[in-house]
Symmetry: C2
Subunit: 541 residues, 2 copies
Amino acid sequence: MSTRPEDAFEIEEKDLLGRVGVLETRHGRVRTPAIAPVVNPTKPVLQPAEIASMGFDLLMTNSYIIKRSHGSLAVELGVHGLLGVDTPVMTDSGAYQLMVYGSVDVGPREILEYQISLGSDIGVILDIPTRIGIPKGQVEREVEETLRRAEEAAEMDRGGMLLVGPVQGGQFLDVVSRAAARLSRMDVDIYAVGGPTQLMEEYRFEELVRLVMAAKMNLPVGKPLHLFGAGHPLILPLAAAMGADIFDSASYVLYARDERYITSSGTLRLREMSELPCSCPVCSRLSLEDLRDLPKQERIVELSRHNLYVLLEEVRRIREAISEGRLWDLVRGKAALHPSLRKAFSVFARYVPFIEKYHPVSRPRASGIHFTTPLDRYRPEVYRYFKTLAERYKPPPRRVLVVIQETADKPFSRFGWISLLLRAICREGLYRSVHLAVLSPAYGVIPLELDGYYPLSQYEAPRDLYLDYGTLSSDVAWYVANSRSYSRVLLIHYDLPPALIEEVERKVRGLGLEFFRLRAVPDREDIGRVTKTVGLLVAGL
Amino acid sequence: MSTRPEDAFEIEEKDLLGRVGVLETRHGRVRTPAIAPVVNPTKPVLQPAEIASMGFDLLMTNSYIIKRSHGSLAVELGVHGLLGVDTPVMTDSGAYQLMVYGSVDVGPREILEYQISLGSDIGVILDIPTRIGIPKGQVEREVEETLRRAEEAAEMDRGGMLLVGPVQGGQFLDVVSRAAARLSRMDVDIYAVGGPTQLMEEYRFEELVRLVMAAKMNLPVGKPLHLFGAGHPLILPLAAAMGADIFDSASYVLYARDERYITSSGTLRLREMSELPCSCPVCSRLSLEDLRDLPKQERIVELSRHNLYVLLEEVRRIREAISEGRLWDLVRGKAALHPSLRKAFSVFARYVPFIEKYHPVSRPRASGIHFTTPLDRYRPEVYRYFKTLAERYKPPPRRVLVVIQETADKPFSRFGWISLLLRAICREGLYRSVHLAVLSPAYGVIPLELDGYYPLSQYEAPRDLYLDYGTLSSDVAWYVANSRSYSRVLLIHYDLPPALIEEVERKVRGLGLEFFRLRAVPDREDIGRVTKTVGLLVAGL
């Protein structure tokens, strides 16, 4: 019988596909999203105990290297004894070495048994990482072999060790999807997406998103997902938003050896820096000059420490953002830093029909939504609103639709100019003849009677979202076409770009409706004139 | 005779209107941009010596409070003795108390002499801060009095103390401009913009930008500028981009008292947090639970420390960004975090004709420009390019303009499909009959013979910038109108949005030119067909 906890993973908070959770291992709990620093078992740059004391819940080391250097001696000590820590430890299998060197002198069953005998908390099967540039036939054969090994591992008694099953397939997304679907039926504790290191090193973040999403959409959503080799702060929030829970990375020391200093917005070369823009214990203790003057080996140690502090901070920031429902904003902020990341974010956003299914409906600390880019139109809340309109909303049967440009006062029906207009229209007995709606650059058309529902009034959007003429005019056309009852549309605006109005007009007329526009100043004075125009439109039917 | 250094301020690096500099004071050098934590002289929450040891070059305290509590005793000790530091100290004059309480029991000359006798490194005149909501007549009278006091102070012998002259006027930008222009003719060492605290507290960042820019544009650019009360990490990069060099703030302790935890993207309420997303010495030593369990007074102390570390990190990050020419990206990243800030950034961007004058032309570590939002069109480099086109560029006298949608290969004339097309057109003997240009969502139209100039080939832009139909089509129209020689335009594209093409066509035809479009796949195969079309267009003239 296995002693593994049945539900080793518990999810506490959700945001997009990301979650804050706890993974139970034999050596304690790991808060996720977690980053596991990779520790060289024979010559660590920083002592594993020091890394654990910094606040990392999980360490990663390599069972293949341990086996080759220490063999059965290590089994006596156990991996925790060898590293000198009580923290949960994950062991890799040599698959990375397999990818780099082409072969390893150990069998898949052998290395898995070795990991179990080391007392590893989380072990990985010896999968075959998909390299980029390999023909599809070969990729399929290798994926088949990985799945066979996963199957075999899933049937072994692995004691209390949690088993990681990686999804391979690289750029062949159909292969990735099928591999994930098959793996999801096996008794695996943690799923993983394999081989994206090269994609990340080359900033091919768009492909990374497609790869991870192809796996994620075919795996059990509630199980933890590991992303191999994601050690760059730029990509971590997006990876978490795709539902990745655990990252491992040797980046802190690889960058340190290359004299590179990690910051939350990218890496800097030590020789090009003018001071240390950080307040971690290393950078609070040393100046840039101090750091540069250190002997090379000590400099690598201090840089590694600093790099780890930044990674830890980033992971904590992600957990905090998920708990507060601000993960989208965090990812968007990162995306503004680099075009490749922005493209990747824009690819990710297109998965909103899937994301929306798992995104929480409301949350205790929900604050308003801040729209700042056209991509915000892909937020799950917006998609959910359109879905609701399409599937569940029936507008009242009116022939005249009056669309009013949004004002800053929300909810529109209760405050400000739009509420005054609403009252005047009621007073004139026109309410049963027209349907009132708001034109919002965030949500498109909002029927006035819905504006109290979250988050239709809890948003802020800058004016330049109006520049996206195509989307906004299509929203109006879609809304009009979806309702089917209107025959006339009146657009009341105060400062919409003329090209947007023209585009709305073109599309509305294209649907066979009459279109009218009225420019009005949103103040009390203009209400009479607007109401009169509405009256004329109703009378003229 | 004054012992003040003639050029107390030296600028080392520039970016936008921001600069990294050094301010020389009697107690040493202050690296700018600098933030001066405000220290209460009678009951400091953190010892001034500790704050200095954290890495702050400048402290700020209040001479009015010192005078009232310690009087002449403080003069014996000096402000440095009183605070127990050797760090440069700036003293405020009681103007803030004047703003809050309506009056102070000290005269302007008296408090200035007191600051001098305290041995303050930087002293402020007792100006009259403009409150918001005061009628213009009163503001003008108060500004007049502030200027009179500045005049008087400028003529005093102030020993080695640097004198700060604040520009007042608040929301009346004409008053602000005139006050700045008059102040700029006085013998003042540091200029300041007064009274924006309220604007910042209420997130009225747009108004803040208008206020600071109105002052900045009328002050000597090379002199240091202080911004009173800017203690929020959200606004610091934008403030630095407007040319503010020194900030003071009590925010670290005010937020701490309110149980608020500063992060680089805003403040969090301690009770709503789930962990500490930071690696400063405080957050490396304490967990969130530890912090919450501390007695209130100790919690305020630890929170204040943390808040200071974040502010220091932010200022260092700004200096680093300026040195690397990445300040725009830093401000843009912040702007993505909050709509009010985004609006403010967009207002700031509109000052590009002024900003461009001071923005460096090239820089040693210049990397490519990453376009991610339509606002990037207001980068000084883009504005400078348009100015050059308008003022100094004469296209060759051709009647056919061929505009080709950009590809990823840059410079276009040397790599990839566009270079192949160029060669084919030369081979066919068409080069003297047509003018080739690239349509870039970043720069509009780039004549192919210019594409080697920095930064016309050193950029990356995402496809969704094409969504800004209005701007891009206007760029083409402007370029065509500006050149005057063309009578036909051929647009070669592979995946432009149809609405953009239509808009370009409409505008080009509106100028009386013929317009043709050709969809082509950017590969070798299609070159023949494209070249043939170009040939037909030339022949058909």
